[in-house]
């Protein structure tokens, strides 16, 4: 499995959480970039190749789900993992663009497992 080549964009408005996810994923050996909001994220993805995006949903300017939709519009081979505080978004997922979702938790192992699965597909 080649982790080094994989580029992950972490989109999260709250800095501590953004930093935590970045560090956790970097520990796993991924190349990790970050974005503070949806706009930044979209700009970044349009200019660079990204393998996976982790998206927070509750963000001030643009809802994570909306961002996911726009990413899909770019027709780039990007996996999208939603990170949410609300468990009930699960039911909306099927109609949206995300590949999977995970409820935020202090325990990062679940997230890392999901990321790994998505990148292996």
């Amino acid at each position: 499995m080649k982790k080094e080549g994989k580029h992950i964009l972490v989109v999260e408005d709250e800095e501590p959480v953004r930093m935590l996810i970045k560090e956790e994923l970097e520990d796993e050996g991924y190349k990790v970039s970050t974005a503070k909001n949806g706009k930044e994220a979209l700009d970044f993805i349009s200019s660079q190749d990204v393998d996976l995006v982790t998206l927070d949903i509750e963000m001030p300017d643009m809802n994570g789900l909306e961002v996911a939709g726009k990413i899909r519009d770019m027709k780039k081979p990007v996996k999208i993992l939603i990170l949410t505080a609300y468990s009930h978004y699960k039911s909306d997922l099927s109609s949206w663009a995300a590949d999977d979702y995970i409820v935020k938790s202090s325990d990062m192992s679940e997230m890392k497992k999901k990321v790994k699965e998505l990148l292996e597909d």
Binding site: E14, V17, L20, A85, Y86, S87, H88, S106
Partner: protein, 900 residues
């Protein structure tokens, strides 16, 4: 020449009759003797004479019969008679005849013997023929007597005639036993003037002798018969045969035949003989038998007649009964029709139609006379019936046809009364006719004495001039006049007759008419009174804004109010208790009204205390949402107590208590408030939880990372504490979100209840066992399948089982039980830990309520949400020291119930 040779005998017997046969015999004798002339005499023993039978010349008149005592010979040998040779003819030593020949001629002894034989044969043969003829005739008797349709008179006469004929009697009589005498009853061949006596005593003469001795009698010569009495008939009786007619040893009469006629058959005597007597006896026997038969037949006929009569009588009676019933029914119908009529003119019409119609009383005509009170007269008003003979058929036919259009006679009467116009027709003959009823022979009785008067043809004939005017108008001899009698007055009269059919008016009809008269009179009376009454009532009604009416009105309002009302007076007596009160409190009005208020029981004591305050305050007291427990049910009531004041007086005589049951509304309000609170709570919780989750993730995440790089043991221990607390916070956040979420993605499936519960029991079995707690599962044997959201349902059971475990604080048993009934499945989770205090029973289901140090307070709230909101079931708890604590989940089996 031999006389007795075959040729001679043949010649003789070939002849037709006795005389010819004698003539032929005489011719043969003459030839043999060679005499030119010859006479043949036959000896008649009874009369001691010789009768000339045949002569070849004209014999002198005095020589036709020769009395033997006038002869100078004893007839033992030939002698000379009137110059002729007379030769006696003998048979068996007795003289039976005599031949006279020319004086020089004679016959020898042998020929004489032959002649004797032949003559005897001829005489006997004649007698035999006579007998045979009579016997043959007897056979005719049975044909003569036809028992059927023959009266006794006819029988006697026929038999008498027959006997006279057969016995060749000149005359015959039958005497019947009358009152101890014999009465001449039938005669044959006797003219009236020949009868001297018609009645004779028993024992008188021959006839009387027969009656007395009951023996038959043969008299050959009444001259020598001592029994003969010759003063009965004017003719002389030379010979007679008499027989008694006896039946059952009782003499009923005597048949007497007198004087025998000369007949075809010659015999040497003229009188009746024994054979005739035997014939007469035989005829009398037949007569007796025939009488018996006829009497029997007559009796049978009579019986039959009686039976027929009886049958007819009973039929008549049945018909009579039927007719009576029919008439009573008709009367009933007429009265029925009258009851539905308010117009007096129509009343009269109905009456007239009813009396004349075919289904009614069938009178030919009915004339109505109305009483004019002032003039004291009767005025002819209407007359119903055919106006003349010519109209009868058509009028009755069309009336009958009209009548048959209606199934109900009463209905017909009503309709017909409206339709019919009685101003023309028969009425025109009578209209305006006036009859004074004071002192009138008929109307005085009818009007002043309320009597029915039946004028019969006889009465018309005897007293007709007293009511000539009426008779002239009616033109009949029989009619009936009935009064229309009310209780107070007589209103008029009706005259009925059968002018065209002539049907007599019977007493039974009069009886029914008397009922009719009264019933109709009463109806007319009530109608007349009704009109007055209506007028009076209307004015009364107008005057009245009556207390009664007003009270009823108020009562109605009271009864129909949706508020329970109780009115109580100063003496604490209940005056009013309306329908709603009955419904709300379950006390019947009949029990409550006039009872003391303490009948309401101790539960009402507080209410009554409040109510009685109106006596002091004199103002209405309102209490809303008053919590009231009655008959172990909880109510919320809005109550109003108003002082009851007398009209226009400032005295309080009691109070009016109104109770409005607002329990339902109150409950709904509480429920709504709860739900609103929960909804706000849920929303807030979700927001807070979300806001907490991000920093919490960061705290937990970085603590994790710090732990990895920490070498300091103490630091690591602190980091662990941070991690633990973060975890706990996360659970709270998760549950809060769980509770407040609105899950639209429930996955209901038909699930096996036992299996779902078993999975959970299995899950915890080992874990609990390690802690010294046993979990037991009692499965529903019916193994029900229920429509459920399996994951949520499991979550409920897990919650309950965990709660139970936590309540145990050490060793013990948890019992899980599933069961079901028609409508629901149940899961009980039981533990014997400390009971839940009663005041906490409800709050434990509310969010964030917990007794546990490490609980979120959301477990049971979530359970309730799942059971009640998602499955439309119910979750409840029972708890006390003796029985432990049981949580029961109840879920409806029927999916339809969930839709409610």
């Amino acid at each position: 020449m031999i006389l007795t040779n075959f040729e001679s005998l043949l010649k003789i017997f070939k002849e037709e009759n006795f005389e010819e046969r004698l003539k032929t015999l005489t011719d043969l004798i003459r030839e043999m003797s060679g005499s030119n002339s010859i006479c043949l005499y036959v000896y008649e023993e009874e009369h001691k004479q010789l009768r000339l039978m045949v002569s070849s010349y004209d014999v002198r008149q005095d020589a036709l019969k020769i009395k033997i005592d006038t002869l100078n010979s004893d007839l033992s040998s030939p002698f000379v008679y009137n110059g002729r040779n007379a030769i006696p003819i003998n048979y068996d030593g007795k003289v039976i005849g005599l031949i006279t020949l020319d004086p020089d001629k004679t016959i020898d002894d042998r020929t004489n013997l032959q002649i004797g034989t032949i003559l005897k044969i001829l005489l006997d043969y004649e007698k035999s023929r006579s007998t045979i003829s009579k016997l043959t005739a007897m056979e005719e008797l049975d044909k003569e007597i036809n028992v059927v349709n023959t009266g006794l008179d006819e029988l006697y006469q026929k038999v008498l005639n027959f006997a006279v004929k057969v016995l060749n009697a000149e005359r015959g009589t039958i005497w019947l036993i009358g009152d101890k005498e014999l009465v001449l009853s039938y005669t044959s061949g006797i003219s009236t003037n020949e009868i001297l006596k018609r009645r004779i005593e028993i024992g008188y003469g021959m006839i009387g002798w027969i009656a007395k001795t009951k023996e038959p009698l043969l008299s050959t010569s009444s001259k020598v018969d001592p029994r003969a009495t010759l003063d009965i008939f004017s003719f002389s009786i030379k010979s007679a045969v008499g027989v008694p007619i006896i039946r059952d040893n009782e003499l009923i009469g005597v048949m007497m035949l007198m004087n025998r006629k000369n007949t075809d058959f010659y015999r040497t005597y003229r009188h009746f003989d024994e054979f005739d007597l035997s014939l007469a006896v035989s005829i009398a026997n037949r007569l007796k038998m025939a009488i018996t038969q006829i009497e029997l037949y007559t009796r049978l006929e009579k019986e039959n007649e009686n039976l027929k009569e009886l049958q007819k009588q009973s039929e008549d009676y049945i018909n009579y009964q039927k007719e009576q019933v029919r008439l009573l029914n008709a009367l009933q119908k007429i009265l029925q029709a009258l009851r539905h009529t308010q117009d007096i003119r129509n009343i009269y019409k109905i009456v007239l139609i009813g009396l004349t119609s075919n289904s009614g009383f069938k009178f030919n005509r009915a004339l109505l006379l109305e009483k004019d009170e002032n003039a004291r007269v009767l005025v002819a008003k209407e007359w119903l019936g055919p106006a003349s003979e010519n109209e009868v058929t058509s009028a009755w036919q069309s009336a009958k046809a009209d009548e048959e259009k209606y199934a109900d006679f009463a209905h017909y009467l009503q309709e017909e009364a409206l339709r019919i116009d009685l101003s023309g027709g028969l009425t025109s003959y009578a209209r305006g006719k006036i009859f004074s009823y004071t002192g009138d022979y008929i109307f005085d009785r009818v009007i002043n004495r309320s009597r029915i008067v039946h004028v019969t043809p006889m009465l018309s004939a005897q007293r007709g001039e007293e009511f000539m005017e009426l008779l002239n108008l009616l033109g009949v001899k029989e009619f009936v006049c009935i009064p229309l009698v009310g209780r107070r007055d007589v209103y008029g009269a009706i005259i009925l007759d059968n002018k065209y059919t002539g049907t007599p008016i019977t007493d039974d009809m009069i009886d029914i008419l008397s009922i009719f008269s009264e019933s109709v009179g009463l109806t007319i009376e009530s109608l007349k009174s009704y009109a007055e009454l209506v007028e009076k009532t209307i004015s009364l009604e107008k005057q009245r804004i009556s207390a009664e009416y007003f009270k009823d009105f108020l009562q109605n309002i009271l009864e129909n109010l949706d508020v329970a009302i109780m009115v109580v007076n100063r003496e604490n007596k209940i005056l009013e208790w309306n329908k709603k009160s009955e419904e709300l409190f379950g006390f019947e009005k009949s029990k409550m009204v006039n009872s003391d208020t303490n009948i309401l029981g101790p539960e009402f004591a507080d209410i009554l205390t409040v109510a009685e305050k109106v006596y002091d305050t004199k103002e209405t007291i309102n209490l809303s949402d008053y919590h009231f427990t009655f008959d172990s049910k909880e109510y919320f009531l809005n109550m109003t107590f108003s002082p009851l004041k007398e009209q226009d007086v400032d005295v309080i005589t009691g109070y009016i208590a109104m109770f409005e049951d607002v329990t339902r509304r109150h409950m709904l309000e509480i429920e709504l408030r709860n739900r609103e609170r929960l909804a706000v709570l849920g929303e807030m919780s979700a927001k807070i939880a979300h806001e907490i989750r991000n920093p919490l993730s960061a705290i937990g995440g970085f603590a994790q990372r710090a732990k990895k790089i920490s070498n300091d043991e103490k630091l690591s221990k602190y980091i662990d504490i941070i991690l633990e607390e973060a975890k706990r916070l996360e659970i709270i956040v998760n549950q809060t979100l769980e509770f407040s979420r609105n899950d639209r993605n429930l996955n209901f499936t038909i699930s096996p209840l036992n299996q779902l519960v078993q999975d959970i029991v299995d899950l915890y079995f080992e874990k609990f066992q390690l802690q010294g707690v046993k979990i037991e599962f009692d499965k529903d044997p019916k193994d029900p399948y229920v429509q459920l959201e399996p994951n949520h349902f499991k979550e409920v059971i897990i919650n309950l089982v965990q709660n139970a475990f936590e309540a145990m604080k050490g060793e013990g048993v948890i019992k899980v039980k599933t069961y079901s009934d028609d409508k629901f499945v149940y899961v009980d989770v039981w533990n014997n830990g400390d009971p839940i205090p009663p005041d906490k029973m409800e709050v434990i289901f509310q969010p964030f309520y917990t007794t546990k140090t490490y609980g979120t307070g959301l477990g049971l709230a979530i359970c309730r949400k799942i059971v009640e909101d998602e499955h439309y079931g119910k979750i409840s708890v029972r708890s006390d020291k003796e029985n432990g604590t049981t949580f029961t989940v109840q879920i409806p089996k029927d999916i339809d119930l969930k839709e409610v």
